[in-house]
């Protein structure tokens, strides 16, 4: 039993040594013919019947793989030796050691044809760069824009924040509810009101703001629009209760222009 174990241990050591040898030939660019392929194949064959567990079989496969890579290297080596570029590396090294620097330099200069390249600025690129420079904002101004100033923490009032438009005076939903109440109060005939009569306001800005809010009233189910195509009039009709579910199949967008001219015509009509 112990003799088998001893043979196995010896075999593993052998295979590890073979792997190391093949790897060093590969990595250090040594002569691959230093590896005696026949001897190694014999070693692999000798120990192969001893291997029974997966770990040992993997070691055997790795050895075969490394040996195959070395044989490939030997084939490349032979090919290289047969080319005109092959010169014995030891001979080259000896030559390089013996030759003075001046001679080595002369040899190189005879086989050197340096690339000719230019790096020159053109009139066009100069003109472009001047244009860029003229449009470039001075550094202190650019830095000023991006600098964040540290300020002391303080207190402010609700009115001040509304004034600075940081927060809205009222929450949007509250505002929308109030707008809906206003619509319900304003409706006249047949529980509906003409669109322009509802959104129209003394100033154009205010009219646009009311048209904007009205669009949300319709979208969120607080009201609906009715179009009289013959008279080319649009009416807005509030619901008694907001409708939560909108029928998507029948949903349609209705663009209504609120231009300054429309507002002016409406205002003149009101005055009349």
């Amino acid at each position: 039993m112990s003799a088998i174990k001893k043979k196995k241990r010896l075999g593993k050591e052998h295979l590890h040594r073979v792997i190391d040898l093949c790897r060093s030939v590969h990595e250090k660019g040594l002569d691959p013919f230093l590896v005696e392929v026949d001897d190694i194949i014999e070693i692999i064959q000798t120990y192969f019947p001893e291997w029974d567990n997966p770990e040992e079989l993997c070691l055997d496969a790795e050895t075969v793989h490394q040996l195959a890579s070395t044989i490939k290297l030997q084939s490349e080596w032979v090919k290289h030796r047969s080319t005109s570029l092959y010169t014995d590396p030891f001979l080259i090294e000896e030559k390089l050691r013996k030759l003075p620097l001046e001679e080595i330099e002369a040899i190189f200069l005879n086989s050197w044809h340096p690339i000719v390249e230019l790096e020159q600025i053109s009139a066009k690129s100069l003109a472009d760069s001047v244009k860029y420079w003229q449009n470039l904002v001075p550094l202190h101004q650019r830095w000023q824009n991006s600098t964040q100033f540290q300020t002391e923490a303080g207190t402010t009032t609700f009115e001040e924040l509304v004034k600075q438009q940081i927060i809205a005076k009222e929450e949007f939903s509250n505002e929308l509810e109030q707008f809906w109440m206003e619509l319900r109060a304003k409706k006249v005939d047949d529980e509906k009101i003409e669109y322009w009569d509802f959104i129209g306001a003394p100033t154009y800005e205010e009219t646009v703001e009311r048209a904007y809010m009205t669009s949300f009233l319709v979208t969120y189910g607080y009201a609906t629009l009715e179009v009289d195509r013959l008279e080319e009039m649009v009416f807005i009709k509030p619901f008694k209760k907001p409708r939560q579910k909108v029928d998507l199949k029948q949903a349609a967008s209705l663009p209504i222009a609120v231009s300054f001219n429309d507002w002016s015509s409406w205002k003149e009509g009101v005055k009349k």
Partner: protein, 183 residues
């Protein structure tokens, strides 16, 4: 445009494209020249080459897969890189004007020759050991780094040196080895 005028204009364009550096590396790829000069770019480059002859310059083609044994195909030309190089050689005085010291050039020769002799890959330590024979220790490593930066050689992850694009474009490897062996 008449044929003669067309070629004269295209030769000028080709000269601008090859002389002026537009990428990190000098020269241009075949497909780039095709885009800018048209499908007849090999003919335009041949004409430029004969014009450059008077100035001791040449258009050099470096193929990706090494020099083809037969006439290169259109695909091989498109993948190749074209440079303008010196046709003849330069003197030691001229090389000094280009910013190269005698020991820089000798060190480069030793490096290139060792890499070629070692079948294209030589351990950096081995090259450094060889250079230390004639160069001060502190210059050896910095010189190799300089050759790497210039594109003459490169280093792989295992610390082996191999020839890079500039050596392939500028150095006649066979002439270099032959001259070394005859000394």
């Amino acid at each position: 445009m008449r044929k003669k005028t067309y070629y004269a204009t295209q030769i000028k364009r080709a000269a601008h494209l090859l002389f002026f550096k537009s990428h990190r590396k000098p020269g241009m790829k075949g497909w780039e020249l095709k885009k800018k000069l048209g499908a007849s770019y090999p003919r335009i480059l041949a004409l430029l080459n004969s014009n450059l002859d008077k100035l001791d310059l040449q258009v050099k083609t470096i193929f990706e897969e090494g020099v083809p044994e037969t006439k290169p195909t259109q695909e091989q030309l498109d993948r190749a890189r074209f440079y303008v190089t010196l046709r003849g050689s330069i003197t030691s005085k001229e090389s000094k004007m280009m910013g190269w010291r005698i020991d820089d050039i000798a060190g480069l020769t030793v490096t290139i020759a060792t890499v070629i002799a070692k079948k294209g890959r030589a351990p950096r330590e081995e090259v450094e050991r060889l250079l230390r024979d004639k160069l001060p220790n502190w210059r050896v490593s910095s010189n190799i780094d300089r050759y790497i930066r210039a594109g003459y050689i490169d280093e792989d992850e295992k610390g082996n040196l191999y020839l890079d694009w500039r050596t392939r474009a500028e150095v006649e490897e066979k002439t270099l080895l032959d001259l070394l062996m005859t000394k």
